[in-house]
């Protein structure tokens, strides 16, 4: 039965006179202003029922006993639920719509992951419990490690790094430890100019001097320039593949071989692994280390800025230097943790420990649930659909936006545009803010640095064609306004919870905490 044979849709009436009159509360319908907890809570309020402290109870605090309570407001439970619910509604999120931040892989976060992570046996488990009581947790680490090694074609893995940048550091410290072990410390790490900022920061933190390798006209690493710079002072290279222009580095194998021939190591930034998962094993390209952002490719939630998780796969050459702890199999089939105590036997050349305990278990359970759900076939489809969606965006927009590398063939999982088609006075920022008014989260702006006014769009595999078409239509219209120099773009967004925020003022005189005097 067709319940709407004429295809009728309700249409909006002409805006009424005075539609934007100010309200007394500052609220605008469902868009609610929310004060700070310091303005709504009180020192007397508490949303948790606890026994009243007994002033006469024995104390073993001695001279350190606090004289007065911490000056923090409390909220009753209904106040707290309402405060945070109202705040949440001022956020855009993947659950609300497409979140096409290039290099960030904002894919759907399955709720099964959340359910699994909250199982008592995982969520309510102490990291220092005796081994006999944590065999299931060690099995999660071991099983996820096995998947990650097989998906990347690499023989070893360090599971403990806490995020992508921590994983980068892990990989670079393995490289440094390996070089020191052979008495050849070296001083320089080569980083392409299109690299994410964490790469040079990590190399510097690992004690290296960073030198930049230029990109070619086609958006790839300049292989000739890189090879020319190799030498006895070069510890290694850090290359993102697929790169931050959304392109595969076709010379990766050649680069790896050249670096190895010069005695260096190859670090691959795995932030863009989603483009190739299940189809290309980075181990087949000769890399020595690569971190995997579980919060990107393997769907663990970004949570407004973390937590992440950054396991690092390692080559045979770097495996002996991996940090503690490790999970190993005992002869009787049980699993054991290798920590400082047994490192002398099991991992004598380990470079040490990167953090307390054993890594991001709460992210491991989520990532494993995701991987098992997709399986090897589903993950292959993930990269296929992610790349298909990005190429569709690229082709549908290249007519209205400058697409610097579109002529060099298909992109991978993200489409890169520049600001070349915009009229004078219109910026990438303006276009991004106009997308907000259309109900979309903007793309990554001004990154990579190799393209002027860069706009990097990563739709991921989780968008339907209808969603993409809607996004493309909106961006197309904005691009046309940008080309025509529409001055209203400079004031966007108009319809977000906040208009454009003064970031310069925030940095000039930082207010980083609430104070009573306000």
């Amino acid at each position: 039965m067709n319940i709407n044979p004429t295809g009728w849709r309700p249409t909006a009436p002409e805006p009424a006179e005075g539609a934007f009159v100010p309200t007394t509360t500052g609220n605008r319908g469902l868009m609610l202003e929310e004060p700070l907890i310091f303005e709504i809570g009180t020192g007397e309020t508490c949303g948790v029922d606890l026994p009243e402290p007994d002033a006469a109870a024995p104390s073993r605090l001695g001279a350190r006993a606090r004289k007065a309570p911490v000056a923090l407001p409390g909220l009753s439970e209904p106040e707290a639920v309402r405060h945070y619910t109202r705040l949440s509604r001022q956020n855009y999120a993947i659950d609300c719509g497409i979140f096409p931040l290039g290099s960030c892989t904002m894919k759907h976060n399955p709720r099964l992951n959340e359910k699994v992570a909250r199982m008592d046996g995982f969520a309510d488990l102490h990291p220092l419990q005796p081994e006999s009581t944590i065999q299931g947790a060690l099995a999660v680490i071991d099983e996820l490690a096995d998947w990650l090694m097989k998906l990347t074609g690499m023989p070893a893995i360090a599971m403990s790094p806490k995020a992508g940048a921590h994983g980068e550091l892990c990989g670079m410290l393995c490289i440094r430890a390996a070089l020191e072990a052979r008495g050849d410390p070296r001083a320089v790490v080569l980083v392409p100019e299109s690299a994410h900022g964490t790469n040079p920061a990590t190399a510097a933190f690992a004690g290296y001097r960073v030198e930049t390798i230029p990109a070619t006209e086609a958006g790839r690493v300049d292989t000739a320039a890189l090879k020319a710079r190799l030498g006895p002072d070069v510890a290694g290279v850090m290359i993102t593949n697929p790169n931050t222009c959304g392109l595969f580095e076709p010379d990766m194998r050649e680069i790896s071989d050249a670096v190895h021939a010069a005695g260096g190591f190859v670090y691959c930034d795995g932030a863009n692994f989603n483009a190739i998962v299940g189809r290309v094993r980075p181990g087949d390209l000769g890399i020595d280390a690569m971190h995997i952002n579980l919060h990107k490719t393997f769907s663990t939630p970004h949570g407004g800025g973390g937590p992440g998780s950054g396991p690092v796969v390692l080559s045979e050459a770097l495996a002996p230097f991996a940090p503690l702890p490790l999970v190993l199999h005992n002869a009787d089939g049980t699993l054991r943790l290798v920590e400082e105590e047994s490192a002398g036997e099991d991992q004598p050349e380990s470079f040490g420990r990167m953090s307390a305990f054993h890594g991001q278990m709460g992210m491991f359970t989520r990532a494993l649930a995701y991987i098992l759900s997709h399986g090897a076939d589903g993950l292959r489809q993930v990269s296929g659909d992610a790349v298909l969606n990005a190429n569709y965006v690229l082709r549908c927009l290249e007519g209205v936006l400058e697409a610097p590398f579109a002529s060099s063939g298909p992109c991978m999982h993200e489409a890169l545009f520049g600001d070349g088609s915009f009229a004078k006075g219109v910026s990438t920022l303006d276009v991004a803010k106009a997308l907000i008014d259309e109900g979309f989260h903007p793309m990554t702006m001004y990154f990579p640095l190799v393209v002027h006014g860069a706009m990097l769009i990563e739709p991921t595999e989780c968008e339907s064609k209808a969603n993409l078409d809607q996004f493309i239509t909106a961006l197309r219209a904005i691009a046309e306004r940008a080309a025509a120099g529409d001055p209203t773009l400079g004031q966007a967004p108009y319809y977000a919870p906040r208009r454009r925020l003064d970031e310069a003022a925030a940095a000039r005189k930082p207010v980083l905490a609430w104070h009573e005097t306000e």
Partner: protein, 452 residues
């Protein structure tokens, strides 16, 4: 596949728009030798939600959950009751599935929460400013040592014996690559916190003294004396707090003179989770803010003059400063910060005081009860919710044996300091509001049997 919305007909239509015949053709830049023909061999295929849940439940069932046994472990990770509303609120999709707030106009929820969180942490620690979180307490501890080097331009850090051994290992590992000199010692079971020995080590090359408070054995070192000694030599005092609930009962490190206060926030809102993800807290004096690592949220106004919040002072950070950044940290622990902040908002100062008092009350009960066991000695006279017993036996073996009987008795110092004979009898016992008097009796009975 349930997570993939494209239909075969969509794919065909999109390929025709792109002007290519197959998805495989889009991978033209990948050398043929590196391209897998089909699914990677040796790996299972997709599975239903039911099947995955069953598999994961099977693995979870192989663990002994803390809540299903008398439980006394601490040593940097504490089991507290988390109100149901905390977990509900952090699962709001608008928080859970948002990215770092790089577009502040549509991320005010996350940003305002971070501003509130920074204020809460600063208040709790008795400091002027706090950042938007680090990975965990141990990495925050290293970042504090690195920051002290930047502030003082000196390269020697002195770590107190009472600093968590995993934190010591983390700092030592990182320092090996940065060239910082690290001076550290083992804790002494019956020797006190060693403030005067530490103070005597501070010299003109010292960047900072790092002291845990309460320390790994549960003791409460005299931070004010250490601050004075550090400052007299131009060094900083870094205080490390692995149990934030303690600050409901004891004076904050900032008010005792610490220059940088870092620690683990897991106790509030986050849960045990087998060690991660946790929540690094980081606070300091306003004058050092430009040397701080990590993200900072600041207040500003929008074009209409309304109050709003943005990430700020990012010229310290890797995405602007690249190799000259204060840290390479990018992703932090946003969702754990939210959990902490919601829990702290529910408690308020009053609730934190009550929670701390209840922890301390039960811990005193447990300490008294356990110290009555023949041969067992309480070596920490003053403590908050965690204390150290000296057993007349190898504590590590005792812990293992008791686990077989379904009692999670605590953390042995043998586990934390393997091979150190002087510490082998040490048992670290943590008691929180989740501990019942029956649990304490069960531990006392189990230990008595073990030591008999």
């Amino acid at each position: 596949m349930r997570y993939l919305p494209l239909k075969e007909s969509d794919r065909a239509e999109m390929l025709s728009v792109i002007g290519t015949s197959s998805v495989e053709a889009l991978f033209a830049d990948v050398p043929a030798a590196a391209l897998q023909d089909g699914t990677i061999a040796g790996l299972p295929l997709h599975a239903s939600e039911l099947a995955v849940e069953r598999h994961m439940a099977g693995l979870a069932g192989k663990n002994l959950a803390a809540g299903s046994a008398p439980f006394f472990l601490g040593a940097g990770a504490y089991r507290h009751h988390v109100p149901a509303s905390v977990d509900h609120l952090i699962q709001r999709g608008e928080f859970l599935t948002a990215y770092t707030p790089y577009q502040p106009e549509i991320a005010q929820g996350t940003l305002q929460m971070l501003f509130e969180f920074q204020t809460q942490v600063a208040q709790l620690y008795g400091c002027e400013v706090a950042n938007a979180s680090m990975y965990d307490g141990s990495t925050a501890c290293w970042e504090a040592v690195a920051m002290a080097r930047r502030v003082t331009r000196r390269g020697k850090a002195i770590l107190a014996g009472g600093l968590h051994p995993h934190y010591v290992c983390t700092v030592r590992t990182m320092a090996r690559f940065t060239g910082d000199e690290i001076v550290s010692a083992l804790p002494v079971l019956e020797g006190g916190c060693g403030e005067s020995e530490l103070a005597a080590q501070v010299d003109g090359d010292t960047s900072c003294v790092v002291v845990q408070y309460p320390d790994i054995l549960g003791r409460l070192p005299d931070l004010a004396a250490l601050a004075e000694a550090a400052h007299a030599a131009g060094a900083l005092l870094v205080a490390v707090v692995t149990e934030p609930v303690a600050l409901g009962a004891i004076a904050s490190p900032g008010e005792l003179g610490a220059d940088i206060v870092v620690g683990e926030g897991q106790s509030l809102g986050v849960g045990l989770q087998f060690g991660g993800p946790y929540l690094g807290l980081f606070a300091t004096r306003e004058k050092f803010v430009r040397q701080m690592p990590g993200r900072l949220c600041g207040e500003t106004v929008d074009a209409d003059g309304k109050r709003g919040f943005v990430l700020t002072l990012s010229t310290r950070e890797q995405h602007i400063r690249r190799e000259k950044a204060t840290s390479n940290i990018c992703t932090n622990a946003g969702l754990c910060a939210l959990a902490f902040s919601v829990h702290m908002s529910l408690l308020g100062g009053k609730g934190l005081t009550a929670l701390a008092a209840e922890n301390h009350r039960l811990a005193c009960l447990a300490a008294e009860r356990l110290a009555q066991l023949p041969g067992v000695e309480l070596v920490t006279g003053e403590f908050f919710n965690e204390f150290t017993l000296k057993l007349p036996a190898d504590a590590r073996q005792a812990v293992r044996n008791l686990a077989e009987k379904g009692i999670l008795a605590g953390v042995s110092l043998g586990r934390l300091y393997p091979g150190e004979d002087a510490l082998a009898g040490g048992l670290l016992v943590a008691v929180t509001e989740t501990t019942t008097e029956e649990d304490i009796e069960a531990l006392a009975a189990g230990l008595a049997e073990e030591l008999a």
